[in-house]
């Protein structure tokens, strides 16, 4: 594995390999490592990020690597320098590039240009493969397996890149997935056809979540920035939120996950519920990204 650009580039054995490496990495967190000592990793974020940026930096430092931080707002990008030149330059400075960029396909484009490994940390509305690996790792860690689990994906399934990639990953493992969203925010038919053709998966569609017997409820926010009518977005958010009333019927074994940031879709009182696992999920970002950095840079 040299670059990590898209979940579509991975076969199940590749994902398995990342997940088992992440389990090994988790045991090493807190113990100084020299696995990537002497390596420089360029962290290039052209869009805001908290968890992805910080956990990649933490992962690199946990493995003994150093970080070159690129700030797009103070770089020559503001003078109009194109992405190609910026990538070529950074390729000469660093041993690997972690890239988040608003244009879809930016990571693939960068990987074509750079000699060093490129890791996609989100390219517009397209892919966020390390988030999918974190989600799969968290589910496997909590439940011991992925295949056969009853998993509900709830929220804006049309715009959230993490949900599309996650459905692909869950289908790869044979999970029983139910999709719950407002009619206007349903997942694109293309991805449903793709997972059916590739993995024989048939995700169910439902108007509301039924949590009795559900193993994992994965929630994502309604992406208000994609709506021209913010009132309509808020109305949908009110209808598709997870509160204590809704969780009344859910089993104690339920795990509630969320890629974060969460806004109104999960009120703060749910955070204290033992079924809320999204902060643990975010924490798993470090060992999973340690595994990604190690595999991409050293193999």
């Amino acid at each position: 594995m040299r670059d990590l650009i898209s979940i579509r580039d991975l076969e199940k054995k590749d994902v398995d390999s990342f997940l088992s490496e992440a389990a090994k990495m988790e045991k090493l967190v807190g113990k100084p490592q020299k696995t990537l000592a002497g390596k420089l990793i360029a962290s290039m974020f052209f869009e805001p990020s908290t968890r992805t940026n910080m956990s990649f930096q933490a992962a690199a430092k946990r493995l003994g690597a150093k970080i070159l931080t690129f700030h797009s707002s103070t770089s020559s990008a503001v003078k109009g320098e194109n992405l190609a030149d910026t990538i070529r330059m950074m390729d000469g400075y660093a041993d690997a590039i972690v890239l988040r960029h608003p244009m879809e396909g930016a990571a693939r484009f960068a990987a074509d240009l750079a000699a060093c490994p490129v890791i996609n940390a989100g390219d517009g509305g397209n892919q966020h493969p390390t988030q999918t690996l974190i989600d799969l790792y968290t589910i496997k860690k909590l439940k011991g397996k992925i295949g056969g689990l009853d998993i509900t994906l709830l929220g804006d399934l049309k715009h959230a890149r993490s949900m599309r990639s996650l459905l692909y990953g869950l289908a790869m493992y044979g999970a029983e997935v139910t999709l719950v969203s407002p009619p206007a925010l349903r997942m694109d038919e293309d991805i449903l056809k793709e997972v059916k053709a590739k993995f024989g998966a048939k995700p169910a569609q439902a108007a509301e979540a039924k949590l009795k017997g559900c193993d994992v409820l994965y929630v994502c926010r309604i992406q208000k920035e994609r709506f021209s009518d913010s009132y309509e977005a808020e109305r949908m958010q009110r209808e598709f939120r997870v509160d204590m009333e809704m969780l009344k019927d859910a089993d104690s074994k339920l795990a509630i996950l969320h890629p974060l940031p969460k806004v109104d879709e999960i009120p703060p009182e749910v955070d204290a519920d033992p079924r809320a696992k999204y902060f643990e999920q975010a924490k798993n970002g470090v060992p999973v990204r340690m595994a990604v950095l190690k595999k991409c840079i050293l193999s």
């Binding site: 190609a84 608003p102 879809e104 396909g105 930016a106 693939r108 397209n126």
Partner: protein, 146 residues
Amino acid sequence: MPLAVQKIENGTVVDHISAGAGSRVLQLLSSHHPISKMAALIMNAPSRKYHLKDIVKIEGVFLDEKAVNRIALLAPNATLNIIRGGKLVDKHHVKAPPAIMGIIKCPNPKCVTNTERTETAFLQSKGGETLRCRHCERLFKPDELA
């Protein structure tokens, strides 16, 4: 009464274009090869196979690979007839290649290929019903790309 259209001496006849797509094929060809001699667009001609079809005849034009690939997207059932000295010297069906490189702009405005200088690439699905942009990974129907 059947419509009579003059034969061409040296050039190309694109036959079996789906009825209604002929004007787009002619427009596409003119963007690849300037049409300075006779050209004809026949619409809704009777067809045994497709009931109705469009036909484009162009004098003095022989299509290059890029033009043929684009016709394959727009008119996947089309047949190319190459005429030299008034005689049919070659006849074949168009066929889109598994990957179409460089000749098509990605319709997704957020695709990086629309802001950076790079060769686009579209990969065909198994049945040829859709093509996926190698960069932004969006799926498109062939006629959206033609």
